[in-house]
């Protein structure tokens, strides 16, 4: 591993942005593996209650307090596996909360079933601190189905209502997702035109 890390620091021209991003992450990992965690910094995160999760695809806000630091522009990352897919997000600059502690926040789509994640922070001296590992797991995957007991009075009528209610709920979620997508498209337009 040390060999890899030394190699990473050689100056080699890289053409692709993907490779640049890869290099950047790898350098972070190498530094992480070779550094002692900065003792002074503490990462405090209160995990969401899975019962409060919105429907999959809706946004959740994750936040982490960086204690024993006065910086709001540290490099903080969220490394996660969401529904089996890797996710590695750099958090935007933090802000002080009411207790005067820097808090970093990020919004991301809620998982369909489960997400495991950790926060990683790099302090100004180059040291790294890794938070505990958190697991956010739904007890069940949300559906929009309605059922009518077979022996219900007016079963056919209730079935019709159930179908309508199911459609209405599903359309509500769909619209919400499209509105989120519109917001992201707007965001991307800005990013790509900068």
């Amino acid at each position: 591993m040390w060999g890899f890390c030394r190699l990473l620091h050689r100056k080699v021209p890289i053409k692709s942005m993907a490779l640049k991003a890869l290099m950047s992450t790898l350098m972070t990992v190498c530094a992480l593996s070779s550094s002692h965690a900065a003792e002074s910094i503490q990462l405090v995160h209160s995990p969401l209650d899975a019962r409060d999760l919105p429907t999959p695809g809706d946004f959740i806000t994750m936040s982490v307090e960086v204690r024993n630091s006065r910086e709001t522009n540290l490099k903080v990352r969220l490394a996660a596996s969401r529904d089996g897919k890797l996710l590695d997000i750099g958090l935007p600059p933090g802000a002080f909360n009411e207790s005067d502690i820097p808090v970093y926040r990020v919004q991301l789509p809620a998982p369909a079933a489960v997400m495991t994640y950790q926060f990683v922070v790099q302090d100004k001296d180059g040291g790294f601190t890794v938070s505990d590992r958190f697991v956010l797991r739904r007890s069940c995957i949300p559906t929009y189905r309605f059922e009518v007991p077979a022996n219900a009075v007016d079963a056919a009528f209730k079935q019709e209502v159930g179908t309508l209610m199911s459609k209405a709920k599903s359309l509500e979620a769909t619209t919400q997702h499209y509105e989120n997508a519109l917001r992201l498209i707007d965001d991307l337009r800005g990013l790509l035109n900068e």
Binding site: F4, L8, V12, M17, A18, K20, L22, L26, V29, S33, P56, G57, A80, S81, G84, L86, L87, D88, G90, P109, A113, V114, T116, R133, V135, R138, S139, C140, I141, T143, R145, F146, E147, V148, P149, V153, F157, K158, Q159, V161, G162, L164, M165, K167, A168, L171, A173, T174, T175, Y178, N180, A181, L182, L184, I185, D186, L188, R189, L191, L192
Partner: protein
């Protein structure tokens, strides 16, 4: 940059992976990872990542199981698995694309593996309080919501104009977040959000690292 150099480095990329696995009482664990790829794989690596180490398994078997779907199978000595282990696979295609497979649910206690075991929520029951006269408002609600969803989709279609969608697709490829299905307004809405969010994060991250380098 030498491709093999990167191959050696890739396991560390996934070092942060947070899924957990429990050892089994078997000497070898068979890992199956599904990978989406438009082009046939030319090189395949099985990757097993544990807290302090990363192992590559070059002895892999690749089977085409769908139009663009491949299954990578490899064996891992049980002794190399610990509680932090997680497995995936890296496929390098003939046109030199790098594609990671999903985290395998084969390692039974991997929380992500439980995706397959999480049941659907029980359906709600239609209340007995609903009466015949309530059907019309529900129909109206469905019509209104349907119109709203159509409008939002139309707006997305308009915003994802030819030029812009080409830009986004190119960016997905550049940042390594491309998938087999092309980005378009016709994707399932939750997937569309996921793809756009990933792309937005990747671009923002890249810009930040560029600024830091200056």
């Amino acid at each position: 940059m030498n491709k093999h150099f990167f191959l050696g480095l890739v396991p560390f990329l996934v070092f942060f992976s947070t899924a957990v696995a429990q050892p089994r009482v078997r000497s070898e664990i068979v890992v199956r990872v599904q990978v989406e790829s438009k082009s046939p794989p030319s090189q395949v690596l099985g990757l097993v990542l544990s807290k302090g180490s990363a192992n590559q398994e070059k002895d892999t078997k690749v089977t085409k199981i769908g139009d663009y779907l491949y299954e990578v199978l490899f064996k891992v000595p049980a002794s190399t698995i610990d509680e932090s282990s997680v497995a995936t696979a890296l496929v390098i295609t003939k046109d030199d694309q790098w594609i990671f497979g999903s985290m395998t649910p084969t390692l039974v206690s991997n929380p992500d593996g439980e995706l397959l075991n999480v049941p659907e929520c029980a359906p709600e029951t239609v209340s007995d309080k609903i009466q015949q006269g309530h059907v019309a408002p529900f129909k109206s609600l469905v019509d209104i919501r349907s119109a709203r969803a159509d409008l939002a989709k139309m707006q997305i279609g308009r915003l994802l104009s030819d030029e812009f969608i080409v830009k986004l697709r190119k960016a997905e490829q550049l940042f390594g977040v491309s998938r087999t299905t092309e980005l378009s307004a016709d994707l399932p809405p939750a997937e569309l959000v996921d793809r756009l969010a990933r792309l937005s994060d990747a671009i923002r991250d890249f810009k930040k690292s560029q600024q830091a380098a200056q």
